[in-house]
């Protein structure tokens, strides 16, 4: 028995070696690549003529496909700009876009794909917080740093995670600003909080609830729905029975829009105000809510806009995709800056070796992202702190007026 296993094992090893030889053959015929194969663990080696590959996890399907597409296109414009400026030492950048689907499981799949691909230098994304929580453990182990343009859950960045960074602002800020606005500016004290059970929506709703309670307000209901639900009447009847003055929804556009619409018909909620978050700061929200959107509030974690740069970006975007960026989603600026931040860090650590290969040390890149001196991005001065919070700007509050978002408070208006 023992010998049979040994023989089998030997056969397997032989077969693998053979397969390896066959697979290696074309690579081995190129001298630079052969050289590169020598002890390069912990380093990404890019042969001349190859591209610097940046992975992207975007929510192209799932609950917010339009914002996901917008974020992807923002990243592509950044790649175009980097390449138009000559790339890095003659090496061009390339975006490897995958569908993270705004979902933790899919985020894990995307993470595994990137971890298995040794040419991936860094990752921009994920779009949603849940998706990003799926990416984190895998990228952390594979030593691939990521910068998320739009994942706002406070726990995305922490002192335990050196590869975790984001340009978006944390919901620790958004939830508090929203609660202050509701309590102080709108003067409501009886509040119902609804969330969509996503990492993002529920996390934000909890922060909002805690801050309302801290301010001395009353939370009549804290209820969850599911992403993808379309009938909220039973929930709203239950919420309405307690007669809140204000409903806060933590979640994404479609559910937010439908709740705003259906609450106009729910007994007890006729005069109740509605507010949602950056996940609902989209055209999809206005579409789903229809006329009921009028007068509702949303908040957004906005960057500090650099007008001239943004006009230039918008023109390029419109030219390439035939649509104005704001029609799809709000986070294109953050996405552009994420890619630019990654590129700036790569520039700091990349070396060209004697064979003409570009060598990037993974550990050095991880620290370099946090050490980037800061640059003027589309969303303001991009500079990371010691836990990976790199965003600029603040929280803005909008009210829907005449079918459009109109800023009424918050960042840039004080």
């Amino acid at each position: 028995m023992q010998t049979r296993f040994t023989t089998l094992g030997l056969l397997l090893v032989a077969a693998l070696a053979l397969a390896g030889c066959v697979g290696m053959a074309p690579v081995a015929s190129e001298p630079p690549a052969e050289e590169a194969a020598v002890d390069m663990s912990g380093k990404v080696v890019i042969a001349s003529g190859e591209k610097i590959r940046i992975g992207g996890s975007f929510a192209l399907t799932g609950p917010i496909p339009d914002p996901g597409k917008d974020i992807r296109q923002g990243a592509e414009i950044a790649i175009d700009d980097l390449n138009a400026a000559g790339g890095l030492e003659g090496f061009m950048f390339d975006l490897v876009a995958e569908d993270g689907a705004c979902d933790g499981t899919q985020g894990t799949n995307v993470g595994n794909k990137f971890a298995a691909d040794e040419t991936i230098v860094a990752v921009t994304g994920g779009t949603c917080s849940g998706e990003t929580f799926g990416l984190i453990p895998i990228l952390l182990e594979a030593r691939i740093p990521f910068v998320s343009p739009s994942a706002t859950n406070p726990d995305i960045t922490s002192s335990d995670c050196d590869v975790c960074n984001r340009v978006a602002l944390s919901d620790a800020l958004q939830g508090v600003v929203d609660a202050d606005f509701a309590f102080s500016d709108l003067g409501v004290t009886k509040v119902a909080v609804v969330h969509d059970n996503s990492d993002y929506g529920k996390g934000l709703a909890e922060i909002f609830q805690n801050h309302i309670l801290a301010l001395g307000g009353e939370v009549t209901n804290f209820e969850g729905v599911q992403v993808g639900d379309t009938d909220f009447r039973a929930l709203l009847a239950k919420v309405g029975a307690n007669g809140p003055e204000f409903i806060f929804f933590g979640g994404y556009s479609t559910e937010a829009g439908l709740i705003a619409q259906q609450m106009t018909e729910a007994p007890g909620l006729e005069n109740t105000l509605f507010m949602s978050d950056d996940g609902a700061y989209t055209r999809q929200y206005l579409d789903a809510a229809g006329e009921a959107a009028e007068g509702t509030y949303v908040s957004f974690v906005a960057g500090a806009d650099a007008e001239a740069m943004n006009a230039d970006f918008d023109a390029k975007y419109l030219d390439k995709y035939g649509v104005s960026p704001d029609d799809l989603g709000p986070f294109h600026g953050q996405s552009y800056d994420s890619v630019k931040l990654i590129a700036a860090a790569i520039k700091e650590v990349a070396l060209v070796d004697s064979g003409g290969n570009l060598v990037i040390d993974r550990e050095e890149l991880i620290s370099a992202i946090r050490a980037v001196e800061g640059f003027d991005g589309l969303t303001g001065m991009i500079k990371c702190d010691e836990v990976g919070e790199c965003g600029a700007g603040g929280v803005q509050i909008f009210q829907v007026e005449g079918g459009a978002f109109n800023q009424i408070a918050g960042f840039g208006r004080e």
Partner: protein, 353 residues
């Protein structure tokens, strides 16, 4: 030998008795929970009426879809798991018909024009669903009619995914938003109870469609042929019934009801997308099993019960509304354990059981 059979039978009776006691215990626990927690919340009567109305609307939608499951099961003994997608496609077609009608300005016209346009949109949705249902039957199920029962089931799941992702690729992943015309926006306000017009339309239309279906099955020659095929397919064929034609008609009837449900749900909940048939499809299947699959009045009754339980259940049991799906599917499990033949019991011939 005889004694052995006797012991086996006795054991079976003991087991049945045990199951019954467990069932009664669970029921008692639920009632206790409703009395001590749900009713103790002190909701006003108008609240319970509102929730019951929400439940009846849900029930109406589930009933229309559940009938498709039950009709097909009655004749082919297979679960058409792509039926939810047939409904979704009706909703998608209805969306484009609505776009067209809005483009023509029909939705702003006098009320008669709007009503005719709405009927036209519903017809487009139903016709689309009927065509999809017929195609499914011809391509996915008929070639497998002699195969073991599990095979068409797998084919149905494949067809369901195929339809979902075809819609995703062709029409995109973003939800399509229905715009309600002014005529059916809003609703009736009776004190603290609000009845949305779309909800009332769903309930009334589903009752009318179910009556029409009942008439077709009980009073027409076609219905007699359907009942004959359901009873015994080969004997019916010997008696001169065109079995293939009857099966196609069954799919058409079920799909037409699903298409109507898809369009009405589109107007009620105002969004449709590639996977919006999945959950209602599962719920309708649950409703069909609840009433006793293969049993037409059972499907209607089961759907109404499921809709009501889903709407009232979370408040009555004093648990968060996000668990409404848990309640629905727990009900399915309980029914399968304690009354596998459904609430309406056996109406099936021996062959199907």
């Amino acid at each position: 030998m005889a004694r052995h059979a006797e012991t086996a039978q006795k054991l079976r009776i003991d087991e049945q008795a045990a199951t019954r006691y467990i069932g009664i215990a669970i029921l008692a626990l639920i009632i206790w929970r409703v009395i001590t927690v749900g009713l103790a919340e002190g909701y006003p009567t108008s609240f319970w009426i509102s929730q019951a109305l929400n439940g009846m609307v849900l029930g109406g939608v589930y009933a229309l879809v559940a009938l498709g499951y039950t009709l097909v099961y009655g004749i082919l003994f297979m679960i058409n798991f792509a039926h939810g997608e047939v409904m979704m496609l009706g909703g998608i077609a209805g969306f484009f018909a609505l776009q067209f009608a809005q483009g023509q300005g029909w939705m702003e016209g006098p009320w008669l024009v709007v009503v005719v346009a709405l009927l036209f949109i519903m017809l487009i949705g139903m016709v689309t669903s009927v065509l999809i249902g017929m195609t499914l039957e011809r391509l996915a199920y008929r070639p497998l009619r002699q195969a073991p029962r599990l095979v068409p089931l797998i084919s149905a799941i494949g067809a369901s995914l195929f339809l979902q992702y075809s819609v995703l690729l062709i029409f995109g992943v973003s939800p399509h938003s229905y715009r309600k015309p002014a005529l059916i926006s809003g609703g009736l306000r009776l004190g603290n109870v609000f009845i949305p017009y779309t909800g009332a339309i769903i309930f009334i239309t589903s009752v009318l469609l179910m009556l029409a279906l009942y008439f077709i099955i009980q009073r027409t020659k076609l219905g007699r042929a359907m009942r004959a095929v359901a009873e015994d397919r080969s004997t019916a064929a010997l008696m001169g019934v065109d079995v293939d034609a009857v099966i196609v008609v069954t799919f058409m009837l079920g799909s037409a009801l699903a298409g109507a449900a898809g369009v009405m749900l589109g107007f009620h909940n105002t969004v449709v997308k590639f996977n919006s048939g999945f959950m209602p499809g599962l719920k309708a299947f649950t409703a069909a099993v609840l009433g006793g699959i293969g049993n037409i009045p059972g499907a209607m009754f089961g759907a109404l019960v499921l809709g009501l339980i889903e709407a009232i259940g979370p408040s009555a049991l004093g648990i968060p509304t996000e668990y409404k799906d848990v309640i629905a599917f727990t009900l399915l499990v309980l029914i399968l354990i304690f009354r596998p033949s459904g609430l309406f019991g056996e109406v099936l011939s021996e062959k199907k059981a």
